[in-house]
């Protein structure tokens, strides 16, 4: 409705004329917009720095042949020592600098070294690349090949002040500088990371495990949460206590509950196995986290256990807002409990259920901590997210880890497309 010609007569209950909005492009509106952007700037900047920038970096890194060890910058190394002994003035000793380029792959350009000498040392002959001025030795060592090593020897005559003082030549560390290209910033790109990720036979398995974990975990948490909500959707004493109790798994830190499950299900000293044996249900203890495909079922059960409280909370809140009249009307018409649930409650819950499903689906897909803490991705529980860690840190191939991360990001783009298509219509999120 246009703001200028709102109707004089009321057109219906609840239909109030909108307030006169200020013109869209006046100076006041501009000031307001400026203020708004000003207030949002800290948030936007921090998000850009910590979320957007790393996301872009992932694409860059995924096309780079770098491993964990390449993160250390390539620098020239030096080891300094004194050959010979000084006891009287005029003694000759040799100061030796052992210079190495510890990298076997990368050259270093424009290497320089500077070292402060104690007073009273006179060089007999100085290497042509070096100069000595005011007790400071400066050398221009030029460009080094990969794996370059050399010894720089300088013969010196010790004078009186040096003998008398306690200073040692090695007291000051020589300072080295040099330009080495980091693999991270040069312009060589490669598909090797993606190739190694896709080619390995386990990639399909990783996808399948992720899919199973995500789908079963999400639906399981929703169903269990709904059952819990149905159960508590009536007032009785202790309802509040139970509701608080049911949220425990979600509120407690993941490390605490994950390690508790590991302890509880341990095949040797775990209580759960001992219990099953004592009850006569099994003969020998079961290794819940070490066997395929059982380990996958166990971590999925953990996921359901840990996140049913969340869906429980939302579904309960929605249930309590359903009007009671419809149930009384249904009672009058002789509807049975299951019919009431199926024909009355469920349609009203569909909105929140679909929102929860999509959110939980994406978050379960993104989940890393739980599986990492319980199995470390072993015994057939490696999901995509765990695979990022596995590739980047266990195999020390940062590039391959980033490649998996790119795959994850691609999946998420597809999910968010769905999210905006369906969810925003459902609940106006």
């Amino acid at each position: 409705m246009s703001t200028t010609d709102y109707p004089n007569s009321s057109t219906g209950a609840g239909h109030q004329p909108t307030a006169l909005a200020p013109p869209r492009s006046g100076p006041l509106a501009k000031r307001e917009a400026r203020l708004a952007w000003g207030l949002l700037t800290p948030t936007l900047l921090s998000v850009a720095l910590v979320i957007i920038l790393p996301l872009l970096a992932i694409f860059w890194i995924s096309a780079k042949p770098i491993g964990l060890s390449d993160l250390r910058p390539t620098t020239p190394d030096v080891y300094e020592r004194v050959r010979g002994k000084v006891s009287a003035a005029g003694d000759r000793v040799t100061i030796e600098y052992r210079l190495t380029n510890s990298s076997r792959e990368k050259p270093i350009a424009n290497v320089t070294m500077s070292d402060v000498w104690p007073a009273g040392l006179e060089p007999v002959s100085l290497d042509e690349r070096c100069t000595l001025a005011a007790g400071q030795l400066s050398c221009n060592l030029g460009d080094w090949e990969a794996g370059h090593r050399e010894r720089l020897l300088i013969e010196v005559v010790a004078q009186e002040p040096f003998i008398n003082s306690d200073v040692n030549v090695r007291d000051t560390e020589p300072v080295m500088t040099g330009d080495a290209s980091s693999d991270l910033f040069n312009l060589t790109f490669t598909w090797d990371n993606f190739r190694s990720v896709f080619d390995s036979g386990e990639f399909l398995e990783v996808l399948w495990v992720t899919l199973f974990y995500t789908v079963v975990g999400t639906i399981g948490a929703l169903v269990v949460g709904m059952l819990a909500a149905l159960m508590l959707n009536k007032s009785f004493t202790g309802q509040g206590i139970l509701r608080g109790l049911f949220l425990f798994p979600y509120v407690a830190p993941v490390i605490a509950v994950a390690f508790t499950w590991v302890t509880l299900l341990d095949p040797f000293s775990g209580s759960f196995n001992a219990l099953l044996v004592q009850m006569g249900l099994i003969e020998t203890p079961i290794n819940f986290f070490g066997q395929r495909p059982l380990a996958l079922f166990t971590v999925t059960a953990f996921e359901i256990w840990r996140y049913f409280p969340l869906s429980f909370l939302f579904i309960l809140a929605r249930m309590q807002s359903i009007d009671h009249d419809i149930y009384e009307a249904a009672d009058m018409d002789g509807a049975s409990p299951f019919q009431k649930f199926y024909y009355l409650s469920l349609p009203q819950l569909m909105g929140i259920l679909s929102v929860l499903f999509l959110l939980r689906f994406i978050w379960t897909f993104n989940k890393f901590d739980d599986i990492f803490l319980m199995t470390g991705g072993n015994a057939g529980t490696r999901t995509l997210t765990v695979n990022v860690y596995e590739q980047a840190f266990a195999i020390s191939n940062i590039g391959a880890g980033a490649a998996v991360a790119v795959v994850i990001f691609g999946c998420l783009l597809a999910f968010s497309f769905f999210f905006f298509r369906f969810i925003s219509r459902e609940e106006g999120l």
Partner: protein, 399 residues
């Protein structure tokens, strides 16, 4: 199937199995006795007590008959062992078993005819059983892990290897019960981890609020191009998995020497919580009457003055929810702390507990660490549950 006596018997059997399994767990955990259910006896006594509940209207009489049934059917061994062992504990167990069988079953079969059931009555009976089962089941799956966590931390290594089911408290150990806690604080530096975690979490809350309050106000109240896009897309950030961000952050921090610094951690933590905080707050700000703020503007306050003097005091409950929720996220955060901190003197609590997960450290220490990490957040949660649940629901929280 749709006969009253049949349903009562079936429900009786199922309920009896539920109760006996639960009681076995409770008895084993609290006494260390080698108790186990006698499955056949449980089935028979369940069916019998179900029928008694259906046909005997007097509850007292029902209880007495059930008592006789429970002892009779199992040949005086309701828990599979002779009643002479720890008779008092077993006596209590029998009492609980009898009451736990007959009272719920008489409630479940209340008003149910013995003959043919209507669909309504039949489903009602099933719903009643499922509800009862649900209470027991959900309470058990939530309580047992936490109980095991707590009790393992006060047991000795030997005692647990001997009988992993015995969680009875060894009172005669006195203060020695808390030895693993004492060792964590004296040898493993947990006092400092606790402090670090607390400081990091509080700082995260402060920075998050500082950033998100103005942002939320702008999105909620001010008109500008892109307002709608902003309020929607801010939550998209939650779709990005932490591990995808953690990898480049690790690379970047390694290069700039920010790893192993709490400052580096504090650069990241608030940004992970700002979006949800902004989203929750803008929802609350929208609900506040704009007229009060307009009155403030008329009286000569600047916009920032309005936010500070009018909006914020009015939204204290929302601020409390958001703070609690952000505190919880920061306190529980594991992945970044794990990847970015290597230096034991700078560990947060979660990182410290991870360190205990090795074969050289006894299990009680790990569980004691878990208790130390869990307790503060649970206490906070129980004390301020109202705010917390509101925070959880309002933010449609990340997991």
């Amino acid at each position: 199937m749709k006969n009253g006596y049949l349903l009562a018997a079936v429900v009786g059997v199922l309920w009896s199995l539920t109760i006996i399994v639960c009681l076995t767990i409770v008895m084993a955990f609290s006494t260390g006795l080698p108790v186990h259910p006698v499955w056949l006896a449980a089935i028979v006594q369940g069916a019998a007590v179900g029928l008694v509940a259906l046909y005997v209207p007097s509850r007292l009489l029902g209880i007495l008959i059930s008592f006789a049934l429970v002892l009779g059917v199992s040949f005086m061994q309701p828990f599979g062992i002779s009643l002479s062992e720890k008779s008092f504990a077993q006596g209590v167990g029998v009492l609980v078993l009898v009451l736990g069988l007959s009272v719920p079953l008489s409630i479940m079969t209340k008003g149910m005819p013995a003959g043919t059931l209507t669909r309504h009555q039949f489903e009602e009976g099933i719903v009643r059983f499922l509800t009862g089962f649900g209470y027991v089941f959900f309470t058990a799956i939530v309580v047992v892990p936490f109980y095991v966590m707590l009790m393992t931390s006060v047991k000795g290594q030997q005692a647990l290897l001997l009988n992993p089911l015995d969680f009875s408290i060894e009172w005669d150990k006195g203060w020695d019960l808390f030895r693993s806690y004492q060792e964590l604080f004296t040898q493993y530096n947990f006092g400092s981890y606790l402090l670090t975690s607390f400081l990091v979490s509080v700082a995260t809350v402060a920075v998050t609020l500082l950033f998100s309050v103005p942002g939320a106000y702008a999105v909620a109240r001010l008109r500008f191009k892109g307002q709608a896009v902003m309020s929607r897309s801010i939550l998209l950030i939650y779709m990005v998995p932490m591990i995808v961000l953690a990898l480049p952050i690790y690379v970047g921090f390694s290069m700039f020497g920010l790893r192993n610094s709490l400052f580096g951690l504090l650069l990241i933590y608030p940004v992970t919580t700002i979006p949800v905080s902004l989203y929750m707050l803008q929802g609350y700000f929208r609900g506040l009457p704009a007229e009060i703020e307009e009155a403030g503007l008329m009286d000569g306050l600047s916009r920032l003055g309005v936010i500070w003097k009018i909006t914020l005091p009015l939204s204290l409950p929302a601020l409390a929810s958001v703070s609690l929720y952000v505190f919880m996220i920061a306190w529980n955060e594991f992945l970044l702390a794990f990847m970015l901190l290597d230096d034991p003197s700078k560990f947060t609590l979660t990182r410290g507990v991870t360190m205990l997960n090795s074969s050289e450290v006894p299990r009680q220490h790990l569980m004691a660490g878990a208790v130390i990490a869990t307790l503060p957040i649970l206490v906070l949660f129980l004390g301020l549950e109202r705010f917390m649940t509101k925070g959880l629901t309002a933010g449609s929280v990340k997991g």
